[in-house]
Structure formats: structure tokens, C-alpha cells
């Protein structure tokens, strides 16, 4: 039984048919990546899992429980966190307050909360240096770190990451991917949406290729990066 499973999911924005019956599974402990070009429906997939969009057809299951009918704040409670596209840091809250919001469902007086914070600051020492700074004044890279740290503060079992490398300098991209591997090494299941297909496939176990709302390829990461069509369309190789 897969930890997270989408079965024949159709999601619409009004009349726009954004997901045309996709099926995705994520097993415990995996990094699964979802690659595809602009407008393919990657973000929509993550938004549907988190409950921000409701599928018109199909099912989303987490630990074999249907979650496509429950509101986003309940889904977080079950153990699915998302670092959304564009980071979406609370701009007028400080770094610490942003992290506190991640821990909204938990008791901030408990030692577990402190341990969670320590873990985030160990992964992202930069955030600790910026602890009282307003989220809106952070650099892009710092905001990405905060978005991931904030998601980790919810104590998730599955972490959904929407284009964590977007707009970052190559060094920083490298660093973010390393951190994703580290988190995964600590036992976190990750569903990673990326346009940066090369690096995503390098750290992922399996991958899906999404095109105009449909899954066109699904394989282990190694095979995908060797696939001719993937190389042409997403890896910039001729």
C-alpha cells in the first residue's frame, strides 16, 4: 500500500481542465519527482493533494484514507506539508513567527517544538541568523529555506515541494537539493515538483513526466534521465 496515492484525478479551474485523470503513487521513504514544462499541471497536482483544489473526479488517498473531501487544514493535521510555489512566506511576520505558524497545530511550550526548531536551524543556519527579520525582507534563497523549514515545523510524513530551486543561483540550487536529500535520509518522504529535471532526477528514486495535465511517462529516476524524449524535452539535450 502506497503512503500517498492519486487515482485518476481530474481537477478543473472553472472550465479549464488542468488535470486529466492522473495517477501517482508515493511510497514511504521515497523521493518522487514530478517534472514537466510550464502549465503542465505540476502545481495543480500538489494543490489538489493539499486540498486547496478539489478534484472533480478521482481520489486522493493518504495511508489508504480518502483525503480529497477534507479541507486543507485537516490534511496538514494528517501529516502532509507543502512548501508552495513562490514560497509564500508571511511577509509581515518574522522568521520565527513564520516557523511558529508552521507549528500552529503543536504546543509551542513542548520540548518537541524546541527540537523541531533546532532541526530547522541545523538544516538552515541562515534562518537562525535572520530569526527576528520580517519574512518579506529575506532574499529569495532565504525565503525558500524558510518555506521548507516552515513546512517541516508541521511535523509531516510527506513533504510536498513546489519548485524549490526556482530563481536561485546555481550554488544555492545545489545546496537546496543537498538538503532535500538530507531530509529524505532522515526518513522523510518527498514529492518534488521541478523544472530543473536534471537535478531532480539525480536525487529522486522515481519520477513522473506530466504534459498538459496527463502523465506521459513514469519510471525509476535513472531510466527517466536516460529516456530519449525526456532528454530532448526536459534536459535540453539534442
Amino acid at each position: 500500500m502506497a503512503l500517498l496515492e492519486l487515482q485518476n484525478v481530474h481537477t478543473y479551474y472553472g472550465k479549464i481542465h488542468a488535470l486529466k485523470g492522473i495517477s501517482v503513487t508515493v511510497e514511504k521513504g521515497e523521493i518522487v519527482t514530478l517534472i514537466g514544462s510550464n502549465g503542465a499541471g505540476k502545481s495543480t497536482t500538489l494543490r489538489t493533494i493539499s486540498g486547496l483544489e478539489k478534484p472533480r473526479l478521482g481520489e486522493v488517498r493518504f495511508k489508504n484514507q480518502r483525503i480529497d473531501t477534507i479541507p486543507p487544514h485537516e490534511i496538514v493535521k494528517l501529516g502532509i506539508a507543502q512548501s508552495p510555489e513562490g514560497r509564500r512566506i508571511f511577509p509581515r511576520l518574522t522568521v520565527l513567527e513564520n516557523l511558529e505558524m508552521g507549528a500552529y497545530l503543536h504546543d509551542t511550550n513542548s520540548p518537541t517544538y524546541r527540537a523541531d526548531l533546532e532541526r530547522v536551524f541545523t538544516l538552515f543556519p541562515r534562518l537562525y541568523e535572520r530569526i527576528s527579520q520580517k519574512g518579506g525582507t529575506l532574499s529569495g534563497g532565504e525565503q525558500q529555506m524558510l518555506a521548507m523549514g516552515r513546512a517541516l515545523m508541521t511535523r509531516p510524513e510527506v513533504l510536498l515541494l513546489d519548485e524549490p530551486s526556482m530563481g536561485l543561483a546555481p550554488v544555492l540550487v545545489e545546496q537546496i537539493f543537498e538538503i532535500i536529500e538530507t531530509i529524505n535520509g532522515q526518513g522523510m518522504t518527498v514529492l518534488l515538483v521541478e523544472q530543473n529535471a536534471l537535478q531532480a532526477l539525480a536525487i529522486a528514486h522515481r519520477g513522473y513526466v506530466l504534459q498538459s495535465g496527463e502523465i506521459v511517462l513514469a519510471d525509476v529516476a535513472q531510466a527517466l534521465s536516460e529516456n530519449e524524449m525526456v532528454q530532448k524535452a526536459y534536459l535540453g539535450m539534442e
Binding site: P72, K77, E100, E118
Partner: protein, 390 residues
Amino acid sequence: MAAEVNAPASARFGRRSPLEVLRTVFGPVFQLFLFIVGSALALSLIVVLLALMQMGSRPDILTRALTILPQVIIDGLVRGFLFATIALGYTMVYGVLEFINFAHGEIFMVGGIVGAAIGLMLFTSGMLAGVPVLLFVAIVVLAGMVVSGSLAVAVERVAYRPLRGSPRLVPLISAIGVSLVLQDVVRLIVTNTPMGFNARYHTPDFGSPIRLFEIDLGERVVPVIVSPKALVFISVALLMLIGLNYLVNATRLGKAIRATAQDRPTASLMGINVNRIISLTFLIGGALGGAAGALFGLNVGAVNPYMGFIPGLKAFTAAVLGGIGNITGAMVGGVVLGFLEAFVSSYLSLFTNGALSGAAYADIAAFSILILILIFRPSGLLGEATTQKV
């Protein structure tokens, strides 16, 4: 690397120190205090200058202007805190939903009616005289808060929530509808009870006015007095403002309100029940409005179903003046507008030698400010610059 980070980290990121809490709570209150002192001084200075300019033709004008000055400042404070407490309801709802709740003036009115109803019940049962003044104030304020707060929550649930996601004009029109419905339902109720349309606000005896100090003018002595009711109004309003700042800045729920205001979908990704936070916002705003209504009625001695309209509009002006969506701004906008009104209504006839009646022009002054602000500085006095936008 990690080890270096850990040691100081655990020392710092635990609970906020009491000092920090005090700073986050009293920072905005201090800012408010500065604006109170600042606007009182600035307006007093203008009065003195105007008086000096007219000294040639009217030698006694400076003395006349100065003798009423302390009274005008007290009046300005009462008006200012009235507008500030109502303005908070507009601004909080706007901060979270970007929607102007035009029915908020009626939420305020209901608080006044509730206070008057309690006064009448105590009066008819003959118990009124025996109720200690502060207990009476506590009862009407709490009752006003409970009724108006719940009413605001119910209004949101019934008239605004189903319209969420529709074009902005739609909930606005719904709010105007709610406002009319509330006025007429309350009118129906009060005219069919012993309260009557213009309901008298019975209170226990608040005692005689308090003499603060006296101004010795040589030939006569002018006392500066404050009515106990005005004093109660100012104190309760100040307590509520401090409480609100504590709630919004120093509690988990307050941070959730701010997070929801800043980014609703992302707040839900944190596990925040956004609908509940929106209800909470209406509850807080409604409760503040209800308390203001109960205190306002108590202060002026009578209430009616249409009394929410003008104070509501003025409080909205105050919210815009301070920068709508900004909590400190609403408080600051309230007191600045209150002072302006008090000064215009007291001094206009003095300086025009009775040609223009100040009381009549105070409203014009208030709404001219609304128009000027909307034209020249739509982000308000504090606007984007401050940190305390919800």
C-alpha cells in the same frame, strides 16, 4: 556548524521574554499616545495662532480660546476613542478579507440598544439605583460585546461567507442590505417595547462631574471638569485597545489572524482553520463595536436604531485615515479625527464670530478629510510604512 548553532539557539528561541511581549503590546499603544499628544499640541498651537491674529479686533479672544481648550481636548479624547474602537472593526475585517463591512455601524448601534435595554430593565425593576456604577458599566459593556460580537459572526456566516469568491461589489452590496435590515429590525423591536424609538439610556447615578484643576484668570476662576461617564469611556476604551494589541501581537491566535490576513491559502497549509479565524475576526471587531455602542449610549443618554450610521461612517473615515487594514492606524486615525472634530466644533464659531456654527461643520470637516485622504494619500497616515498591518 550545527553544534555552534544549537547552543545559543535554544537559549533564544524558546518563549518570548516578558519584556519583548511588553514591547510588542505597548509599542502600538505608545505610538497612539504620541499621536494623541501630537495632535492635541498641533491643534492647540493653531488655535493660539488664530487667536493672536484676531487679537487686534477682539482683545479677549485669546483668553476665551484658552479657557475652553482643556475641555475641548477631553471632548476630543472621548470622540477619538469612540472612533478608534469602532474603526478597529472595519480595519480588522478589511485586513483579513479586503472587504468593507458597511454593516459595522449597525453592530455598534446594537451594542447601544443592548445597554439601554439593560438600563431600562434594571430601572423598571427598581434595582438600578442599587447597582454600583462600575458593575453597571461592566454589565452593559460585556452584554454589548457578547450580543454585537455574536451578531457580527452570524452576519458573516449568513450574508458574506456564501458570497466569498464572487466579485468585490457583491458582498459590499450585501453589507449595505444587512445594514438596512438591522436598522429596521431593531426599530421594529424597540418601537414595540417600552423602550420606544428614542430610547432613554437609564444609568445609576455616576456622581457629579470631577474637577480636574482650575484655571485662574484673575477676575474669575474657570474649572476644568470631566464627566465621570467620559472618564469611564476613555478608560474602558484604552483597556480594550491594550487587550486587542496583546491578542493580535502576542498570542498564537493573533499570529494566526495576521497570517490569514497576509496569505489565506498558505495559512490553511499551516493547519489554520481559515473560516474559524475569519469568524474570530468578526467576533473581535463586533465585540469592540458593541462595547463602543454601549459606552456611547451611556455617555449621550439616549439611543435609537439609526444612531450607528454617522459614527460608523466617521470610524470608517478614521480607519482610512490611519491606513485601512492597519490596527495601529485605526487607533491613530480615530484619535486624530476625534481631536479635529472637537476642535472644529468648539472653535469654528469662536473664530468666525458666530457666523459658522461649529457643531454643524464638524461633520463636514470629518468627511472632507475622508475625501482628501482618498485623493492624496489612499494608504493613510501610517499606510504601508508601519509594521502592524494585520
